[in-house]
């Protein structure tokens, strides 16, 4: 079987298993754009489902109301008692939710989905309603993200399978080997299938060897192994079922490659329970190896590449969740919902929602206020109170603050300083257009000074730049400390800081203000390492006439992008930094 056909056969198996045990396995993430392979897979999946089971789409921009349910206002007003409109999450009970463009789902939508996947019930506390509705379903997440853009981790963690259909050719798409009847028959057998303890252990060992920390992974793998056995008509899980489970559930979650075999042995011997006999252990190590090998062979190529590339960017990708980098602003961005609120400056009243909220209370208020029918028209007026006001909330991408750290020491010749000033001015103009904030730190002599706290004022920035004198030592460690401190403060306000450090990397003044290149450089390196640990985006521009090894080393320590710019004019420098900031 060639590689594509093997992927397809596993994808079909995942479809059959999900159809067989939708609630236990959670579902499938399908990676790759729309195309014949995905259509074909969805068709296979549908054919595995009993006809009674419904599939419904989850639109990426669904509102909380649509998801969870709420009051059906029209019906409520007509009947004079609260009528509940069930949301999608309750409606889908016993079916399958098809999340199209899963990479674009809102964080709140993901959280609701996760809550129901965990508890198997929808809890609604909205619009005067308090309900608990049981709901169990599987999710098919169609993840069309490109490169880094992916469906949320927390959702993927709860779905047993992840398949990649992007690279398949027409020839790979062989006929499906399961249909609804097979699945139906297997579903009856599933509760009786047993799994040996050694297999549970093997799946745990394999998960650890592949660097999978979440405990949901081995748990889902155990359930998957059971389902594979049931599908094959077996009463107990066999080795090949465990192998399939490891391939399908664990391989796509791998974050590292297993250590070489001899290390593996020593690792396994320590935790082994003393109660286990040596004979047991001998049997069990080869089993682990077989399963691990099967899983390792099935790691999708893109994940394999990620694992191999991740030496430098690992920490950053782990901490800089994109979802955390958006913030709420009263006026701009994309509307993300409404809340009760007062009409303060800048708040935008949502008239429709306000009326919706006020509507049910009208008879009550009329009664309380006496007849308030307008005598002239004979029509009653709506009685709106302060509590009814609903404000539209917006979310925008968080503002970016660029911190320029400029080396104004003697070693950066005065000529270079002028170029840097010119470049910073150009970038300032650009930041001004994008409404980004800019801060400026200069260092020379024995100190680093914050010349310009984060601002959008172009004139202020220009003025403080023009007044920047040059000459003196290079207190690089102090400069990096100051930049890190400012960047952390900016980040804690919910904005995204970027540091642009312009230096030749030749530190010669240490934190205590003493000269001495060796100490100063060691300190600068240490400061750079600590800055790197924060995950803040840094661009290091080497401004020395010849690219310096010390500057490059510094860049590596702070996980920075390194730009060597000997003899650049202001415009080129500005373009280069812009390109690097935009790429991050």
């Amino acid at each position: 079987m060639n590689e594509g056909a093997a992927i397809w056969s596993d994808a079909i198996l995942a479809a059959a298993l999900t159809a067989l045990y939708p609630v236990g396995l959670g579902g499938v993430r399908v990676r790759g754009g729309a195309g014949p392979a995905r259509d074909r897979w969805l068709e296979v999946f549908r054919n595995c489902l009993p006809v009674t089971m419904s599939i419904r789409k989850l639109p990426p921009a669904i509102s909380d109301g649509g998801l969870l349910g709420g009051i059906d206002l029209t019906a409520t007003l007509q009947s004079g008692r609260p009528i509940v409109e069930r949301g999608l999450l309750a409606e889908i009970d016993g079916g399958v939710l098809l999340a199209v463009m899963a990479e674009r789902l809102e964080a709140s939508t993901i959280a609701h989905l996760n809550a129901v996947l965990d508890a198997h019930e929808v809890i609604v506390e909205r619009d005067g309603l308090s309900l608990r509705l049981p709901s169990a379903f599987a999710v098919i997440a169609l993840d069309e993200g490109i490169d880094d853009e992916e469906a949320a981790w927390s959702l993927r963690d709860r779905l047993a399978f992840s398949i990649e259909l992007g690279g398949l050719s027409q020839a790979d798409l062989t006929a499906a080997s399961y249909d609804a009847e097979d699945v139906q028959a297997a579903r009856g057998k599933l509760p009786e299938v047993t799994i040996g303890d050694e297999f549970v252990e093997t799946l745990c060992v394999t998960a650890v060897s592949l660097g999978i920390t979440s405990l949901r992974a081995p748990l889902l793998a155990v359930r998957a192994a059971r389902a594979v056995a049931a599908l094959a008509g077996e009463a107990a899980v066999r080795r090949e079922d465990v192998e399939a489970a490891a391939r399908l559930v664990l391989a796509p979650r791998a974050t590292m490659l297993p250590a070489p075999a001899e290390q593996q042995d020593t690792q396994q011997q320590e935790p082994d329970d003393s109660a286990q006999s040596d004979r047991d252990r001998e049997d069990h190590t080869p089993l682990d190896e077989v399963i691990l090998e099967a899983a390792q062979a099935a790691i999708p190529p893109d994940i394999l590449k990620q694992i191999q590339d991740q030496t430098l960017n690992r920490r950053r990708s782990a901490t800089s969740g994109k979802q955390g980098m958006t913030r709420n602003d009263p006026r701009r961005g994309r509307p993300i919902g409404v809340r009760r609120g007062e009409l303060r400056a800048g708040a935008r009243l949502n008239v429709l929602e306000t009326l919706r909220v006020a509507a049910p209370w009208q008879p009550l208020r009329r009664k309380a206020k006496g007849a308030s029918t307008d005598a002239a028209t004979g029509r009653s007026r709506l009685l709106i109170e302060k509590d009814d006001f609903r404000i539209t909330r917006f979310r925008q991408r968080s503002a970016t603050s660029t911190i320029f750290v400029v080396d104004a020491s003697g070693s950066s010749a005065l000529q270079r300083l002028a170029e840097v000033k010119g470049a910073v001015e150009l970038m300032l103009a650009d930041c001004y257009i994008r409404r980004d904030e800019v801060a400026l730190i200069a260092f020379r002599g024995t100190s680093a000074e914050l010349l310009l706290p984060p601002t959008r004022s172009l004139t202020r920035a220009k003025r403080s730049l023009a007044a920047l004198p040059g000459g003196g030592g290079t207190p690089l460690s102090k400069a990096i400390d100051a930049a890190a401190k400012l960047a952390l403060a900016i980040r804690s306000k919910g904005q995204s800081p970027t540091i642009v450090l312009m230096t030749d990397g030749r530190a010669n003044v240490s934190r205590d203000g003493q000269g001495g290149r060796a100490v100063a450089e060691a300190e600068a390196h240490e400061a750079a390492r600590q800055l790197g640990a924060t995950g803040i985006q840094v661009v290091l521009v080497d401004t020395s006439p010849r690219p310096q090894a010390s500057a490059e080393k510094l860049a590596i320590a702070m996980h920075a992008r390194y730009v060597a710019l000997p003899y650049a004019d202001a415009a080129r420098l500005s373009r280069a930094v812009q390109a690097h900031v935009a790429a991050g």
Partner: protein
Amino acid sequence: MATAFPFSAIVGQDEMKLALMIAAVDPKIGGVLAFGDRGSGKSTAVRALAALLPKMNAVAGCPYQCDPDDKAAQCAECRKPSKGKAKAHQVPVPVVDLPLGATEDRVVGALNLERALAHGEKSFEPGLLARANRGFLYIDEVNLLEDHLVDLLLDVAASGENVVERDGLSIRHPARIVLVGTGNPEEGELRPQLLDRFGLSIEVKTPEDLPTRVEVVKRRDAFENDPAGFVAEWAKEDAKQRKRITAARERLGSVAVADALLTKAAQLCMTLGTDGLRGELTLVRGARALAAIEGAKAVGEAHLKRVAPLALRHRLRRNPLDDSGSTVRVERALAECFAP
């Protein structure tokens, strides 16, 4: 509600279990915040706690399940002198879920919609805060909750009272709740101002050693195959824990705290540079509850040391030059203060 996983059957997670036990013994501790990895079973522990807590005595028919023996903490209705001796019954301690997407009216309570529509009359429909009175309010993914709701909850939790003014209705009712929040730091951080207002904070980590992981998966699997049987198997162990909570609550008032120990606590907080007195108070309170749980007559240094990371780690100022975690910093300060 589905059967909860038994508390005693939870493998590892000692800190999480300890914090929940402390909160169960002394609700005034000020809430528990648990942040941690995906799939590490934060929610499991909280739901397990609900099944573990001993039942409490409550006024029958009271929407706030007032304590019949504690006049001061009762709602206006129960306090009315005309009522005489109220009928009491045993109810489970409420552990109420605050689901994401909950609207403010359901959290604090609002006018009863049904009665307003059908009869045109105003009556108060108690919200989640009322339902959680004398118990726990559990917020999963607390970092995704709207900021204004988090503010409101912390306010109520601190004052022990919920005040609702709506449509000319003014209601004031007791809301003595222990907030339990869980979240995943990768999905957004909690504002530092809010962090500080939780009493204890826990970093939940997925166990790394293999035997523990295997045990977790095995137990979970066994539970899912036969929930009732699994719960029965652990019922005895859970009953033991329940007794420990009851005994510790009775003992709590009589646990002594020596002045020398208070000095130590203050010293520790000063070394760490925590802001305000809240950290110090929580530290002493937590240590006392722990001593009560362990059946000690007085708080010892060991108790203080065990509670210190939970009570203090979320109150440290971020130091940009120190990239070691806050737990490490607390441990370092402990070593410094308790040096022989």
